[in-house]
């Protein structure tokens, strides 16, 4: 009896297995249709017709496939854009696959290496910091948008630069990564300051005031993830400096701003005005738990700050300090953000371009809507809209969105190049050696320069 049961189980498993192998699309879709209401509601656009479209570019004349990540942010934005576009173009749909940014990069690399671009979607989102790398190494995966009719001059020039290579535009700029300085007004008050005391100031001034805040409140004014060069990179871009020269060569040892920046950073760590935490979770925790009086990062950090509703009305936003004695230094910088790209596999390029042109490069209604999700425009006309001028209760009724769009337009551009992450990591290593082991700055920078040059030569 027992044997019979075992053989029946084995046989049915094999039949089930083979049947499932034969028709993956069919079986999976049937199980998805009965999903719960909430998930069904959130994915209506993606799922409605998805059983027909299996991979790569869509065959349907009025559907575009998209790879992007973050359902609350990018996925929401592209679906909203599709909804707006569909008002004038009946039947238009996007089919969104939620894919993490790293995984999009893995898939692109795999597809190019395998010589088969047919699996690419019509549109994909790419981190600005990776854009140059892919545009340089794999230009074949992009559609050249230079003469597509999209007016790139309406975007902030620093942002457009990320997706531009050799004068050709490969991407449509999307979310804003303008750097903001967020400060706890209650703690500043305790130290006898207001936000205005921290607006349009220099780092020297900032460091002195930070000491007062530390003395009066016991808290550091900045928090930073140990070994992460986020803040250093932001300071660097605020003076229009990059880790690469125009010709692509490494610019670490001779960089006129990098050394002063590292000095400021390590001095603040010594003063106790900048606390280094071990990882990203601790970083967010230090902001939410009130163990820091402020933070400097891309404006997307706001979403993490506002997550703690108990601190409503206790935060204010201003611009970051600028470097003293460095030519071209400003109070503005950028960290993060991403751009849309249309793949070369897209068979409906005219539709994809028109879709992008009418939404991300042409619809204030879109940007007015997605602002609720914290997605801020880099498209200048959106900043003039009323939605951006609305006071935000969490930040003591300050119209922070308009402020940030203004910051974005003043941000100097930088050169990322194909080896951005190599350079960034090398500087991160140097920074952590300097802070943790008190290593000599000059020799660390020399090592960083050599590491990047070695990687580039390899």
């Amino acid at each position: 009896m027992k044997r019979k049961i075992v053989s029946i189980v084995m046989a049915s498993a094999m039949v089930f297995g083979l049947a499932a192998c034969g028709s993956s699309g069919g079986t999976t879709t049937s199980s998805s249709n009965g999903g719960n209401d909430a998930s069904a509601a959130s994915e209506t656009t993606a799922k409605s017709e998805s059983s027909d479209v299996v991979e790569g570019s869509s065959d349907d004349d009025n559907t575009l496939t998209v790879w992007t990540w973050d359902p609350n942010f990018n996925v929401y934005a592209i679906k909203k854009a599709a909804e707006i576009y569909a008002q004038d173009h009946e039947g238009f749909k996007v089919e969104v696959s939620e894919v993490q940014s790293d995984d999009i990069e893995t898939r692109l690399t795999t597809a190019v290496s395998a010589g088969d671009l047919s699996t690419l979607p019509d549109i994909f989102l790419m981190q600005d910091n990776s854009f140059q790398k892919y545009a340089t190494n794999y230009p074949d995966i992009f559609t050249d948008l230079t003469d597509s009719g999209i007016d790139f001059s309406e975007f902030s020039s620093a942002k457009v630069a990320y997706s531009t290579l050799d004068g050709k535009n490969y991407g449509i700029p999307f979310d804003n990564g303008a750097v903001i300085e967020c400060l706890r007004t209650d703690m500043l008050e305790q130290a006898g300051f207001t936000v205005d005391d921290f607006t349009d100031i220099t780092w020297n001034d900032f460091m002195e005031k930070a000491k007062v805040v530390k003395e009066k409140t016991g808290q550091p004014i900045l928090t930073s993830q140990a070994g992460s060069p986020d803040l250093v990179m932001e300071m660097l871009q605020s003076c229009g400096e990059s880790l690469f020269n125009e010709d692509g060569s490494v610019n670490i040892v001779d960089n006129k701003a990098l050394k002063p920046i590292l000095e400021i950073y390590s001095q603040m760590v010594k003063d106790g005005t900048l606390v280094e935490v071990t990882d990203w979770d601790q970083y967010i925790a230090s902001i939410n738990n009130g163990t820091t009086a402020g933070v400097i990062n891309g404006c997307w950090i706001m979403a993490s700050i506002t997550a703690n509703e108990d601190q409503s009305g206790k935060w204010a936003i201003t611009n970051m300090p600028k470097l003293d004695g460095v030519d071209g230094a400003t109070n503005y910088s950028n960290n993060g953000g991403s751009s849309w790209a249309i793949s070369s596999n897209c068979k409906k390029q005219d539709l994809a371009i028109d879709f992008m042109k009418s939404t991300f490069a042409g619809s204030t209604a879109l940007y007015d809507d997605i602002i609720a999700k914290g997605a801020l425009a880099t498209w200048a006309p959106a900043g003039d809209s009323e939605a951006y001028a609305q006071p935000v209760a969490f930040f003591s009724d300050d119209p922070v969105y308009a402020k940030i769009v203004d910051f974005a337009t003043k941000t100097p551009s930088n050169i990322t190049g194909a080896f951005y992450y190599d350079a960034r990591d090398a500087v991160g290593t140097a920074l952590s050696n300097i802070i943790q082991t008190g290593a000599d700055m000059d020799s660390e920078l020399q090592t960083a320069q050599e590491t990047v040059e070695f990687n580039m030569g390899g």
Binding site: R3, A20, T28, S39, S50, S113, D116, A303
Partner: protein, 268 residues
Amino acid sequence: MGKAKKFFMYLILTVASILSVFPLYYMFCASTNRSIDVIAGKLIPGTYLIDNFKALIAQQNLRLALCNSFRNATVLTILCLLVCSIAGYGFEIYHDKAKDAVFTVLLTAMMIPFAAIMIPMFRMFSQLKMVNTMAAFMLPSISTPFMIMMFRQASRSFPHDIIEAARLDGLSETGIFFRMYMPTMKSTYAAATIITFMNAWNNYLWPKVILQNNESITMPMLVANLLGGYTVDYGVLMLGVFICTIPTAIIFFCFQKSFTEGITGAVK
């Protein structure tokens, strides 16, 4: 054993158990708290389990991911066990000059990291128009050198005399395998089930590359999606991880007794 010695033994074991169980406890607690409480390091269970669950199913298609993962892992485990046990049995019981050479090649294949063969494999499957099929996900792991080796090792302890006796009694070779070998090696199969099921369940890179549409989402992909945003809701994330852990934990507890036996040797 002296009392002091016993005390220290228990002390060490207690500390070790706390260290192993704490992450699981933390995962559970975090899944019942708000993100902001998780960040604050709250270590007692909260009341937000249902809210987190609602948020999770609103963001992600949990049911689909669970179904997919479960189907993929189950089918793959059954096929893998069948193929590898036949191979392991064959390598040990039957004799051929080229056997050892073939086995060496197999073992060498074990040394090649997956990342190195991923691109050629993708190319192969994409030319066969098999991207997004369950077969493409499973074929590379149906026969694994490790499993074959494990079954071959286990087969060493399977008494050859019984095989001879069965042959004399007129049982066919297939019959010997299915009716004598399989029931005897239960504990090896149990150990292999745990290992294969867990590998299939947790597999991330290959499914991510080969299964490109939303309909093929698996649990590890779902967890990765929860981590992707500018803001991470830690309560929801931990709940996702918790749900993802349950099936492997159940499989492990079911086969736990046989697992140790299977690893150390099946036949007593």
